[in-house]
Amino acid sequence: MGMTITEKILAAHAQRDRVEPGENIWVDVDVLMTHDVCGPGTISIFKKQFGKQAKVWDPDKVVIIPDHYIFTKDEKANRNIDILRDFVKEQDLPHYYDVGTENYKGVCHVALAEEGFNRPGEVLFGTDSHTSTSGAFGLFSTGIGNTDAAFILGTGKLWVRIPETMRFEFTGEFPPYIMAKDILLQVIGDIGVDGATYRSMEWTGEAVMSLSMEERMTLCNMAIEAGGKNGIIEADQVTKEYNQGKTSIDGQFYSSDSDAKYYYKKTYDASKMEPVVAKPHSPDNKALARECEDVKLDRCYIGSCTGGKTTDFIAAAKLLKGNTVKIDTYIVPATVEVEKDLSIQKIEGETLLDIFKNAGCRIGEPSCAACLGGPADTFGRTQGEEIVISTTNRNFPGRMGSKKSSVYLAAPYTAAASALTGHITDPRKFL
């Protein structure tokens, strides 16, 4: 019996020839990532358990990327950044992206990719549930809590139960109006928010392999919204090219065996996909965008690890160019690199930034911002009964701030089309 990519990576990191789903094993960790929300708690557990003088297991494998509560006057949020800064100094950690310096990056999952920390075949843990994003590079990545992260800081190891794998294959070609976010919301809608609980979600098929790295990242990003342990796509030439110049580590390229055992397999015809939204208040509350045209909106939000990458803004700009938004539209680049791209990338001679400004959008600074609500002064945070269309990942009650607001999740094309009309709109009208 063969093995899936996930099983092969985990076996290799436990010095085993093979593993079976359901087994508990200890794996060696290649990268541990933390940020400003969970870093301080992780550090205090690390010190309590391993001693005040303890040193992390391998400074080169620890990556600290503050990104959640950055542009706020909240004193405690700012204090948490100071805790990270002090720890980095004390431990002499080389991979820290400090707020207010030229090293600052923004949203950790996108920054991990930009900085070359997503290396095929490796094991990466992060104190954030969207750490599954990195699986787009053919590596095992998943989110953990402070305690597990502190355990890794001290030992370089963590126990993992081998997940069963679900395989989602897309044959043929995606139509030009379909984005990774549509595919993902379709699948989550089909299997439900606990449809992949503690399972690996493996994306495959020629349509998936034709996607760019950024789109692949979006596909793996929301594995957690189906309860998945990880999302994964086998690494290929596209992966290799993306990583060129970002890391000197080539990594190990694994693929699933043809006789690997899957818990579930489903094949989709890529050409049949339609633009979809997830209605309030659950990511699996799927509907076709064209079925929701009667939903009037107050706000459009384009940003986050899920929908705030350069590809996402190029898509939105295609629709917004030369037009004016009808509702408050917030543009939040995930990282500083993406922010720079807004001034570099052009559509017919006009930069994305100018397109957004001329369309009447508000532009924020790179961070997680209102994706998860955040402190009261967070850019784009809902404060009342707003109805929002958003390229982010969660629409739970209160997720973007106010408990009374309602969030529709969508791809950047659908979000931009809806910003132009003031109600949910199928982007095919503009493409």
Partner: protein, 187 residues
């Protein structure tokens, strides 16, 4: 590990996510400073919509105004309890509020791991859905060794799923105690 956990129930529905358990605008409090930490108790479950707060009636506070702990010892939920973020503040805030057990039909995995590895409380899974049969304020009694959940108010007993491999970590206290016992880290 406590063998018997007994107290009033606070009942919630399906898919209780971590933003409902502890909203993101409360995550900046320190989890180690005793004075700041208590706010996690105060804001535990403060993101749950009022209509779903304390089923079946709803509109019931988990923590009374101005208090830092809850009168409820056992939380009962449906499917996929603790879905969403990896924030350990979620199981932590429930423990700080005084919760000793969460009983649900199923848990989201990160929340489940965090509850056990951090030693906050035991996440018990039930064989059948129970949240529609238990009312907030019913008195529940969990017998950890027997693996049963008794509703003393309604005089009905349910089986809990065996804890499986994670029982060793629960027995040890947390992942660190377990690793020390197993010789994986030095004491």
């Amino acid at each position: 590990m406590k063998k018997i956990i007994e107290g009033p129930a606070y009942v919630l529905g399906n898919n209780i996510d971590t933003d409902q358990i502890i909203p993101a605008d409360k995550l900046m409090y320190s989890l180690s400073d005793p004075e700041e930490k208590k706010f996690y108790g105060q804001f535990a479950l403060s993101g749950v919509p009022d209509a779903q707060s304390g089923l079946p009636k709803g509109q019931m506070s988990f923590v009374n105004e101005g208090e830092f702990s809850s009168p409820y010892k056992i939380i009962v939920g449906g499917n996929n309890f603790g879905c969403g973020s990896s924030r350990e503040h979620a199981p932590a805030c429930l423990e700080i509020a005084g919760v000793e057990a969460v009983v649900a039909e199923s848990f989201a995995r990160i929340f489940y791991r965090n509850s056990i590895d951090g030693g906050f409380f035991i996440p018990f899974e039930t064989e059948v859905s129970v949240y529609q049969e238990i009312e907030t304020d019913d008195i529940l009694r969990i017998d950890v060794e027997k693996g049963t959940l008794e509703n003393k108010t309604k005089n009905k007993t349910y089986n809990l799923k065996p804890l499986g491999d994670v029982a060793d970590i629960i027995e040890a206290g947390d992942i660190f105690q377990y690793a020390k016992k197993a010789g994986l880290i030095k004491t």
